[in-house]
């Protein structure tokens, strides 16, 4: 019987946070890259409006996810990982959480600096975080862009690492985050 202090698997809610946010991040990249290629116009406005609504959704989910994580510590890393691997895994996860907040916040500030208030799917409008400023907008836009490259890089690292654990190390690191699966009991 797994006890509460060392669970074998992520909780169902932790899995839901992971996969919903993952799907939203993929959608965010698709929307942003499509919008980047469009000229100023209604189509671009519409895509970016969706991008902002999804981004604010990520921010809200990230807050809930972090609270859930504090209350429900994740399963431990499998035995047999080297200290370097452990540190790399931890650093990647810390970076994910930092970016889950930094991406929406820099996006929200960008919109504020350009004086385009952020609506959440037309249901309500978020307050502007900063005043209108061309200089702040330019700085925030490049920050948002660079952070997106960093996010893309660690997403790739994360996926490769998960697959490596599953197929190379043959441990349960991937499976314990997959819904509708069962993890083997630890020896």
């Amino acid at each position: 019987m797994p006890n509460k202090s060392s669970p074998v698997r992520y909780t169902a809610l932790a899995q839901a946070f992971h996969w919903v946010i993952a799907a939203l991040i993929v959608t965010q990249f698709a929307l942003a890259w499509t919008a980047d290629d469009l000229p100023l116009g209604l189509h671009k406005l519409a895509l970016l409006a969706r991008h902002k609504s999804f981004g604010m959704t990520v921010l809200m989910l990230a807050i809930l996810r972090l609270l859930w994580r504090f209350a429900n510590p994740p399963p431990q890393l499998p035995p047999g990982m080297t200290p370097l691997e452990r540190n790399l895994a931890r650093a990647t996860h810390v970076a994910f959480y930092v970016l889950l907040f930094a991406m929406p916040l820099t996006g929200w500030m960008m919109s504020s600096a350009k004086n385009y208030s952020v609506s959440w799917f037309g249901l309500f409008t978020w307050p502007n975080l900063i005043g209108q400023s061309d200089a702040a907008f330019a700085l925030l836009k490049s920050t948002h862009d660079y952070l997106s490259y960093a996010l893309l890089a660690i997403v790739i690292l994360h996926v490769i690492a998960a697959l490596k654990h599953h197929f190379w190390n043959k441990d349960d690191v991937l499976v314990r985050m997959l819904p509708f699966t069962k993890s083997e009991k630890r020896p």
Binding site: G41, S119, T125
Partner: protein, 188 residues
Amino acid sequence: MNHASWMSRSFLATALMAAAGHAATGYSADPATSRLDFAGVQAGAEFKGTFHKFTAAIDFAPDALATSKFDVSIDLNSTDTKDNDRDKTMRGPDVFDVGHFPTAHYVARSFTKTTGGYIATGSLTLHGVTKDVPVSFQFVSSGAGAKLDGTATLKRLDFGVGQGDWKSTEWIADTVKVSFSLALKAAP
């Protein structure tokens, strides 16, 4: 029909009263301290803008509504929403089309008293289209000048403001709110 004839008689009566001694006072808005703003809704979020350049010739007196008149000209090139991209789009051919229609013009000659102030019914010419737009306002005279604050709501598509993609109301609302605060100085 009856209503209209009652209206015209009442106007006539007011006009006769005005002719008998009450004349509206002529004012003009002080450009430095007067504001003419608008607010639209874009992708669900309100955005605010202002017109930096406009002239307002206001002939008004609470006891001479029949001879009162508003005549306001707005330079649409002075549209400012604190974002260059949006301002350029708004001035451009698909929205205000300032190349063809550089000014908007509002003329009101019909005024009624309400509990909280007055309603002017006038015609707005915008983007080559003229339509009636009621404006509710408050008038407070102070010394030789006066303060005129008010609001109006109009539908941009009534005036063809928004062509092509911008006709859609899914991302840009049809309704636009206009508000103004004019510092009136007695006309010379």
